[in-house]
C-alpha cells in the first residue's frame, strides 16, 4: 500500500529567502516519523508546507489524492497541525479549545474529550479556565488534546517537548505510541530532543539548511557519526 503522506520536491520560501529545497519524504499509515535538524534547518517550515500554512511548490499526496494548498483542505483531509508555541485560543476556555479541535467532523465530542482527559487529567481539572491562564506546559497539553479531538489520520507535531518537564516529555511520547497503536494515527514530529525522538520513531529525516541530508530507520541514524555528534551528544 502506498504511503499516507508523500512529499516530492517540495520547496517553500519566506519572501526572498528560500527555506526548503526539493524536500522529498514520506510517512506510512500508523507510522511515527521524526524530523531532526538545527535551528533554522527548515523543520517547522516542512510541517507548514504539509498543512498549507506556508506557500509551497512541489507535490504532496495525502491518503491517495493530491493535497490542495489550503489549510482548511488539509484539516478536512485529516491532518491536524500542533504548531510550535502551541497556538491555543487564549481567550477561550479549555473546553472550547477542545471542541474547536473537532470542528471539521460530525458527531459527539464528549467521548473524544473523555479520551483526551484520560491522557491529560490536568485539562479536565482546568476545563472551564481560560486557556491563556494555563501554564506553558498545560497549554502544550491542550494543543495536543485539541489535535486528538479531530481524530486525524496524521498529526503534525512541532516540538511537543517544548516547555514540558522531563517526566512529562517521556509520557507524551508514550501516549503518542499508544495513539498510534490504538487509532492507527500517523505522526510527523519535529523534536529537539533527538535521543527521545529516535527512541520512539520508526524512521527519521535530518535537515540542514533546507535540504534532507540523511534519512533512514532510527536505529541506523543512532549509529551515524555526524547525527550522534550534532543531535545526540555522545
Amino acid at each position: 500500500m502506498s504511503a499516507l503522506l508523500q512529499l516530492d520536491g517540495v520547496e517553500a520560501r519566506y519572501g526572498p529567502v528560500k527555506v526548503l529545497h526539493e524536500i522529498s519524504l514520506e510517512v506510512g499509515r500508523g507510522e511515527l516519523v521524526a524530523v531532526l535538524g538545527a535551528n533554522g534547518a527548515g523543520k517547522t517550515t516542512t510541517l507548514r508546507a504539509v498543512s498549507g500554512t506556508v506557500r509551497r511548490t512541489g507535490d504532496i499526496v495525502f491518503d491517495g489524492s493530491k493535497l490542495p494548498r489550503r489549510p482548511d483542505a488539509a484539516a478536512r483531509a485529516g491532518i491536524a497541525h500542533v504548531p510550535e508555541g502551541r497556538g491555543t485560543f487564549s481567550e477561550l476556555s479549555v473546553w472550547e479549545n477542545l471542541r474547536l479541535g473537532a470542528y471539521t467532523r460530525r458527531g459527539s465530542v464528549k467521548e473524544d474529550a473523555q479520551h483526551v482527559f484520560e491522557y491529560f487529567p490536568r485539562l479536565e481539572e482546568r476545563k472551564n479556565q481560560q486557556a491563556g491562564t494555563l501554564s506553558g506546559g498545560e497549554q502544550q497539553m491542550l494543543a495536543l488534546g485539541r489535535a486528538m479531538m479531530a481524530r486525524p489520520k496524521l498529526v503534525l507535531l512541532d516540538e511537543p517537548s517544548l516547555g514540558l518537564a522531563p517526566m512529562l516529555v517521556k509520557e507524551i511520547f508514550d501516549r503518542l505510541e499508544r495513539m498510534i497503536a490504538q487509532d492507527g494515527t500517523a505522526v510527523l514530529v519535529v523534536e529537539q530532543n533527538a535521543a527521545l525522538a529516535l527512541a520512539h520513531a520508526a524512521r527519521a529525516y535530518v535537515l540542514e539548511v533546507g535540504h534532507v541530508v540523511v534519512s533512514g530507520p532510527s536505529e541506523e541514524l543512532r549509529e551515524n557519526e555526524s547525527v550522534r555528534r550534532s543531535y545526540l551528544g555522545y
Binding site: N39, E84, S135, G136, M141, L162, G163, P166, G233
Partner: protein, 234 residues
C-alpha cells in the same frame, strides 16, 4: 546581601495558589536555576519579580530595595531584564528595532548594534523578527534584554527549539555573557543538561512551594525532586 531576595511570596489566582510562601535569593554574579514540573509556579515567579503580577503576600527586594512599589514599566530601569517562554517580540518590527526598544529603555547605555554583534545576529538585523526560526527569535529576545544593560537577567526556557549541539553552545554562551556583561542570571529551564552545566545553585518548585534547594548535583540526587520532576531514570 543578595542582589535578588524573594521572601515568603504568595500569589493566588482565584482559588489557585500559584506561589505559596516561596523564598529564594540570587547573589550578585550567580547563575541560579529555577526548575519544577509544569504549573509549579516558575513563570509566575518571573512575573512577580518583573512586577507583571503583584504578590498577595511577601516581599521582593532588588539590591536592598523593595520592588513592590515599582510599576512594571520601570522595572527595566532598575536593571532587570527578561526573556519570555513563548517569545514576545514586537511582530512586524525588524530585529534591530526590537533590540533598540531594549536599548531605549535605559537611554542607550548599550549600543543595539554592539549587542547584535555579540549574539551573532548582526547580519539579520534588518529581517522581520517574526519570520525568523524559533530558536533565533529567542536569541533576538536575549539581545533585546542585554541592550537594556541589566544587572539581573531572567531567562525563561532559553533552550527551547534548539538541537543538542546548540544547547551546549548556549550553555557556554550564558557563562560567557555573565562574565562579559557582569550579570546575575535566573534561569527557568527543563533541559536538565543545561541547568546542570551552568547553574551555581538550583531551587526546585512543585505546586507553588519550594521543595528543594542546592547545587545541581545535590538537587539531582534529591528523592523528592526525582519523584516530582525528573522521573526515576533521569
Amino acid at each position: 546581601m543578595a542582589l535578588l531576595d524573594v521572601e515568603n511570596v504568595t500569589k493566588r489566582f482565584g482559588g489557585i495558589v500559584a506561589l505559596d510562601g516561596v523564598s529564594f535569593t540570587a547573589e550578585a554574579g550567580e547563575i541560579v536555576g529555577l526548575i519544577g514540573p509544569n504549573g509549579a509556579g516558575k513563570t509566575t515567579a518571573f512575573n512577580v519579580i518583573t512586577r507583571l503580577y503583584t504578590p498577595d503576600e511577601g516581599e521582593v527586594r532588588f539590591d536592598g530595595q523593595s520592588l513592590l512599589d515599582v510599576p512594571p514599566s520601570s522595572v527595566v530601569m532598575r536593571g532587570i531584564a527578561r526573556t519570555f517562554q513563548n517569545v514576545e517580540l514586537f511582530r512586524g518590527m525588524s530585529v534591530l528595532d526590537n533590540v533598540r526598544v531594549g536599548g531605549d529603555a535605559r537611554h542607550g547605555e548599550q549600543s543595539p548594534e554592539d549587542v547584535l554583534f555579540y549574539v551573532q545576529l548582526h547580519s539579520l538585523r534588518y529581517r522581520n523578527a517574526s519570520e525568523l526560526p524559533y530558536g533565533t527569535q529567542k536569541r533576538v529576545e536575549l539581545a533585546r534584554a542585554l541592550a537594556s544593560a541589566p544587572r539581573l537577567l531572567l531567562l525563561d526556557e532559553p533552550a527551547g527549539g534548539l538541537s543538542h549541539e546548540e544547547v551546549e553552545q548556549l550553555g557556554t554562551f550564558i557563562k560567557q555573557m555573565r562574565a562579559d556583561y557582569e550579570l546575575t542570571v535566573l534561569l527557568v529551564e527543563h533541559h536538565m543538561g543545561l541547568v546542570m552545566s551552568v547553574a551555581d545553585r538550583v531551587h526546585v518548585l512543585d505546586f507553588g512551594r519550594k521543595i528543594a534547594e542546592g547545587t545541581p548535583a545535590e538537587v539531582r540526587g534529591n528523592k523528592q525532586v526525582i519523584e516530582a520532576y525528573l522521573g526515576a531514570d533521569a
